[in-house]
Each structure stands twice: as C-alpha cells, then as structure tokens.
Amino acid sequence: MKWISGYWIRAVLIVIAVTAVVTLAVWHPWDWTPGESFTRTATAAAAIIGAATGAAVAIVGIGTLVQRSRTDRREEWWRRYRWALEESGSSTRARRRIGYAVLETLATSQLAGPTETGIIDAVTQSHVGLVASWDTMSPQGNGIESEGL
C-alpha cells in the first residue's frame, strides 16, 4: 500500500488545507460579531467542506482504481511470464523461440519491478545451464565444448 502513504496522502492533505484556507477566507470568524447572521457563513463553510470532502473521496477513489488497474496488469504479466516460461522449455523449436521472445519482451516491461526482474534474472541464469560455470572453469580443456540446455 505504498501509494497510500505517499502521493495520495499528500493530495488529500492539500485538498484539506485548501479547504481550510477557503473556509476561513469566506467565513472569517475573526470578524464575527455577536448579532451577525451566523447561519449564512456557516452554510457556505459547510458547502465548501462538503465539496472538499467529495474531492478527497474522489482522489482516493481514483487512486484505488489506478492501483487496481496496476495490480490487474501485474497479474497479467505473471500469467504471461508463466506461459512464456513453459513455452521456452518446449520440445518444439518454434515454441521455444516464441517463449524466449515473450520472456525478452516481459523483461523490458515497465510492469516488471525489481522483484520480477530479479526472478527473470535468476530463472534465465538457470536456463543457461552449465555455461554459467565457465567463469570458474579451469583454462585447460578439450577445446570445443557443447553445452546443452
């Protein structure tokens, strides 16, 4: 719920602050004197407070929708990732290639945060297989080597 503690809380606080300033400007209670019509200014203040509350609720509502949309898109990202991972392990060359192409696209997606990118990194490294051990291999060897997946 990072968005609640960040941008959206600030937006609601700004709305409340603006409302307070506007209310004081309209109401100016410091000028109020006994006998003055209190009802008129109180009604205006109530209307402003009501409008501000509505705006705050709308901001929170929009925030919720944005968050929901992002969650849905990330869930879809995961669904596609699982599919691509399965395809990349297919016994058919054409399907494997589609799988890897989709994995590559998903790796560049903005929906992939550090966690998702880290997972792709770890899983892809395991796909490479023995090649990853080259960095620790002895320089002596038998020349041409074939590393199957």
């Binding site: 290639r97 490479v128 090649v131 080597e145 590393e147």
Partner: protein, 66 residues
C-alpha cells in the same frame, strides 16, 4: 537446435540459440537491476542471432501423430 561457435578466454565453445537468447535476456535484466553482467553473458549476448550463421543445426522437432 542451432549452435553457434564462440571464443571465450581463447577457447572455442559451441552454444545453442537458446543459451545466446538467455544471455541477451540477462543483459536486459542486469541493466535494469543495475548489476554488472558477467563476462560470459557479454560474450554470449554478442552473438547476432539474426545474421550470424550457425555452426551446426540439429533437428530436434518432436512430431506427434495426429
């Protein structure tokens, strides 16, 4: 399965299309994670899968009866 020849630390290795593709994906993830790719990742990712001719092609398609 297509294989490509690469030279790593003076030795020749034969790597598959998939391994090269994995290395290219790893270059993307390393960049995003702000982590340095390892040397073998760079060497493998440098293979141009579109234009470099494969050194060997092994038919590995699985045909199943309809």
């Amino acid at each position: 399965m297509e294989y490509y020849m690469i030279t790593y630390h003076g030795r020749e290795y034969e790597v598959s299309w998939e391994q090269v593709k994995c290395a290219q994906i790893l270059m993307i993830t390393r960049k995003r994670l702000k982590k340095q790719p390892t040397e073998w990742m760079k060497v493998l990712a440098a293979v141009d899968l579109e234009n470099d001719p494969p050194s060997r092609f092994v038919r590995d398609e699985v045909f199943q009866a309809a």
